[in-house]
């Protein structure tokens, strides 16, 4: 038995064990392949598996180990990526039927390449909403991804396969993207850590774009130390992505001291305390109490921010796919098709107005972070709902699930703030996430607070 057979290990533990030669990369990979074989027919996380190349990569790590070469920080750690990251040698599907006709990618996406350079072993590509336009990963072409915590329920989306694969312990680490909440929502519903760094902090080169104004690369992990490790490896300028920052990378490790001394932490009030089930607000209160946070801050015009994000997303997304909408609308997922078609008809002044509002709103958030370091807010308005369920009752009103799952995430990614969704420790209940939100480029503060909450046992990932 490998220690990985319990599927509870994080990437750091696996990497350390391989470094110490307690276990081989091949042995770890064999356990991962067996786990995927056993569970993925039901969970439906993977759209493509790369078993042969993964075996070759793991064997190469073991040879390097035998030759006493210096191994990378993630040497032998299996990982998988949302199926919109280019993987050299296979077509990038982006959850669509149409893209099956694309030629294989010739180069890895930068984020994939950076993890592979650190020795991580890519085992496959993961299910998602078509072209990332959704929050549920109920994909018409590839089926729904099931939530490992309750398989009758959605995993969330659009990076649902990524979140479910990590929550189920099929891989300890996965990449996703977040435009309006597509990392944070599934991380919360599946009960794992989900980091969406500052807009432009991680290269999107080789990623199928959805709405470029908001598209972020993010990651899923089972521990705060893994989140920090992967984030540090992924940081860095990239001339292939015009949005990627040229700021010098700021490593968050070491030390990742679980220390919150001196940090000004407040709960987002108003909009962020309405429109959800009571338990999500209780979850925020639990985290606030653990952090000794008694202050509240009201973010002005959050509802308008969400509206503006919706317009920009629909307009940019439809523009991105216009040629396909013109020539083969029948090949889209019906769940995305009607929104894309309508979005293509948005008048330009609406779009520009939304982009002007975005600058105004960004300045309000900058003001708030002059007097505050970390804001707290729910990640989703409710826990995972049943697959196929369309509506939910909130405050006595029946509302649609799909357009409203992003209520608390959308007004924040709108201005590119770094956010980690942390999984509340709630044995016997469906998972819930709380967003820790910081000023741009302050990921290190987020990870310090998350590490403190993890150390205190307030947040944790349940055993797979």
């Amino acid at each position: 038995m490998s220690f990985f057979d319990d599927r509870g290990s994080d990437a750091s533990a696996i990497a350390a064990s391989i470094q110490r030669q307690e276990v081989s990369a091949t042995r770890i990979l064999t356990a991962v392949i067996a786990a995927i074989d056993a569970d993925d027919a039901d969970l439906n996380c993977f759209t493509t598996r790369l078993t042969d190349t993964a075996r070759a990569e793991a064997a190469a790590i073991d040879r390097a180990q035998a030759e006493n070469q210096i191994l990378g920080d993630l040497a032998g750690v299996p990982f998988a990526v949302k199926d919109l990251f280019d993987i050299s040698g296979i077509p990038t599907l982006a959850g669509s039927k149409i893209n099956r006709e694309n030629p294989p990618a010739t180069t890895d996406a930068t984020a994939v390449a950076r993890l592979r350079q650190a020795g991580a072993v890519l085992v496959g590509a993961l299910n998602m909403d078509e072209y990332a336009y959704g929050f549920t990963t109920e994909n018409h072409h590839y089926g729904a991804t099931r939530n490992p915590r309750d398989r009758d329920r959605i995993a969330g989306g659009s990076s649902g396969g990524s979140a479910a694969a990590v929550a189920a312990g099929l891989v300890p680490l996965a990449l996703g993207t977040d435009t309006n909440g597509s990392v944070r929502v599934p991380a919360a519903l599946c009960g794992i850590f989900g980091l969406k760094p500052t807009y432009g902090r991680i290269s999107r080169a080789g990623v199928t774009l959805f709405a470029s104004s908001f598209d972020h690369v993010g990651l899923f992990a089972r521990s705060v130390r893994d989140t920090a490790l992967a984030f540090d490896l992924l940081q860095g300028a990239d001339p292939r992505d015009p949005v990627c920052t040229t700021r010098v990378p700021e490593p968050t490790r070491p030390p990742l001291a679980p220390d919150i001394a001196g940090l000004r932490i407040a709960t987002a009030a108003g909009y962020f305390q309405q429109g959800g089930q009571p338990e999500v607000f209780q979850a925020v209160q639990t985290v606030a109490s653990a952090l000794g946070a008694t202050q509240t801050v009201t973010i002005p015009e959050a509802a308008r921010a969400r509206a503006a994000a919706y317009l920009i997303t629909a307009s940019e997304g439809s523009s991105q796919h216009l040629a396909r909408l013109q020539t083969r609308p029948q090949d889209f997922d019906p769940a995305t098709r009607d929104r894309f078609l309508a979005g293509a008809l948005i008048p330009a002044p609406w779009y520009v107005r939304a982009q002007r509002f975005r600058r105004w709103y960004r300045d309000r958030l900058r003001d708030i972070f002059q007097t505050c370091d970390i804001l707290l807010a729910p990640t989703t308005p409710w826990p995972a709902t049943l697959i196929g369920q369309e509506s939910i009752t909130i405050d006595g009103n029946e509302i649609l699930i799909r357009p409203n799952l992003g209520r608390f995430t959308q007004p924040l990614s709108f201005v590119g703030l770094p956010i980690i969704s942390v999984p509340l420790h709630r044995p016997g209940h469906l998972p819930l996430g709380v967003q820790l939100i910081a000023a741009p480029y302050q990921e290190a503060k987020l990870l310090r607070v998350a590490a403190y909450l993890e150390q205190q046992g307030v947040v944790s990932v349940a055993a797979a």
Partner: protein, 63 residues
Amino acid sequence: MMSESQFSPSDYLDAAAPLLQLPIPPEARPGVIANLERLNEIAQLVLEYPLPESTDPAPVFEP
């Protein structure tokens, strides 16, 4: 700015879709119309908010 009472999403769809060379499959038409109605409601939230004329759009292009 069109008020909601004047706005006919089906008329707008019929007028604007050909401009964009967008065929609307019959099975998609009700959903597209519903989405146009929703977009119009959402847009009003953004359009009605008074912004200083000096506010630039958010994206910045560096030549």
